[in-house]
């Protein structure tokens, strides 16, 4: 199967200096939904910017639909559709005008343009609102208009940067159906997300990005299968007891790995049902009060923790923290 997207050793540093991409490589087969999964600031959006010709990497190569992104950006632009993280909708223009302009910039005109615009307005459920200013649209309508604008020229590869961020849960599920439908029509789709659930639900193939590198890749099932066994999550009731808890659990034969994240303790175990009593017993013996204990099958969060060495939430928080300091 031919690759619709190939990224090789992409590197990019922003002044600061912030390393956005640190030798990132991956490929996406034709007709797949491929998810770049990672916390904010992992380098997902920068990757999309490089692949969609919006920025140039410091080094590395990339091909989209077989075309070299750096050598022939204009040819790449003909075959890609892009839905950015920020909505690219012009609020001061009608929904229809937004779509028409996007088509015109792709060189589509006249009857062909009118027909295509009608078709997309219909498909995205915007036909009734076509003559309204886009500024009056709801969040879901804007997102659908965004996607319609990315599709107006019938691209071969569609980039969706955080397509469902900020959307209500029901609208998100509807958006997932829409994305699957596009894949079934033969489109290759690269989407970025920081929702584990979204990658799990939607993607044929996932790459986990952390600090500008791909740390793991495969299907959701493959990634989870790497982590045989379950995870026991324990919440410590008293502050300061985490270190003792870690020590007590690390000594247990049933526990393979312990990770402390604030007051939450995550222990990877073989069979959760047999390990849970042992875990609670060990904590009780060590005098660690427990507020809550749960057991779970491996999730993508566990996969992320294993490869990135920190939990997903922790990565998001550290990013937010550094952002506030810088501001």
């Amino acid at each position: 199967m031919a690759n619709a997207i190939e990224a090789r050793e992409l590197r990019k540093t922003y002044p600061g200096p912030t390393v956005a991409l640190d030798g990132l490589s991956f490929e996406v087969g034709e007709g797949q939904i491929f998810a770049l999964l990672g916390p904010n600031g992992a380098g997902k959006s920068t990757t999309v910017k490089v692949l969609t010709t919006l920025t140039v990497p410091d080094s590395g190569r990339a091909r989209v639909a077989g075309i070299d992104v750096l050598a022939d950006p204009r040819a790449v632009r003909r075959v890609i559709g892009v839905v950015g993280q920020r909505s690219g909708v012009d609020d001061e223009a009608e929904g229809r005008e937004n779509l028409e302009l996007q088509g015109q910039l792709h060189g589509i005109r006249g009857r062909e343009l009118r027909r295509r615009v009608e078709e997309l307005l219909e498909a995205m459920g915007l036909a009734g609102a076509a003559e309204r200013l886009a500024g009056t649209y709801s969040g879901g309508m804007r997102r659908r208009l965004d996607i319609a604008m990315g599709l107006v020229h019938r691209p071969r590869v569609l980039f969706l940067d955080e397509p469902t961020t900020g959307l209500d849960p029901e609208i998100r599920v509807a958006m997932w159906d829409e994305i699957r439908r596009l894949r079934d029509q033969g489109l290759t789709i690269l989407l970025t997300t920081h929702y584990l659930e979204e990658a799990d639900e939607l993607a044929d193939s996932i790459a986990i990005v952390d600090r500008g590198r791909i740390v793991a890749r495969g299907t959701a099932a493959e990634l989870k299968a790497e982590l045989e066994g379950d995870t026991v999550h324990v919440e410590v009731a008293a502050p300061g007891a985490e270190a003792r808890a870690r020590e007590a659990l690390a000594r247990l034969a049933e526990v393979r790995e312990v990770h402390v994240d604030g007051r939450a303790i995550h222990a990877r175990v073989g069979d959760g049902a047999t390990a849970l009593p042992a875990v609670l017993g060990a904590l009780s013996a060590a005098g660690v009060p427990v507020a809550a204990a749960t057991m779970a099958r491996p999730s993508l969060d566990d996969v992320y923790m294993r490869h990135a060495g920190r939990s997903f939430e922790e990565a998001e928080r550290s990013r937010d923290g550094s952002g506030r300091e810088a501001a």
Binding site: E92, A93, E97, Q104
Partner: protein, 257 residues
Amino acid sequence: MGVLLNCYDTTRRWTLALLRQPWFVAITLIQPMIWLLLFGALFSSVVDIPGFAGDNYKTFLAPGIVVMNALFSAGWNGMGMINDLEKGIMDRFLVTPVSRAPLIVGGIAQSALSIVIQSLIVVAVALATGATFPGGPLGVLAMIATAVLLAAAVAGLSQAVALTARKEETLIGFVQFMALPLTFLSGAFMQLSLAPHWIETVARYNPVNWAVAAAREAVAAHPDWGYVLARMGLLLALAAACLWLAVRAFRAYQRSA
């Protein structure tokens, strides 16, 4: 051909946006109106200075105000670009195969259109308050065309600044720093032969003064059209250079994005 069609497309977008916010035309008119009416009254006895050609200061001042309005109005043109950059609208355009020039030209065309409307209002108010345009409608038309050429250059430059700095503060600084000094270093308010020699020298290289001089000549009773067209030619060349600069600024944007 495709480039020209795309220029039409982006111009249509900006024109529709302008027609949806007609008050925008009025707001930027407030300042030149104050200049026209207050300066016109305050300095009405300038005409008594020995060596001042003409006997009506408002008639002298009106072309200067038309040009000044074009300068300020076009200076703010980059605000639309900053908004497009912030909202992600420009990125959406940049991922299409469109040439970069139409992405600049649409905003310039909007600026030109609003300046034509504003200039006609300035002319009407000037006429109503005692100014005359001896050159008649043709002269007024040439005056407005001159103002539009200057505006095209300034709007292009403003968009180049917007693409490079991507901050409203920087653009505000650019307009403040550029527009008033260039106006006062021109013959907009005062006959240059009565100004200090150094100002007269600086004005010779000041595009705002090219526009003021051409506009004033165009509405005179017997215009020297060669003089007017030569300056319009200079302004056209400047506008082309500024457009080129703005298109180049997309590269800087792409490097830093």
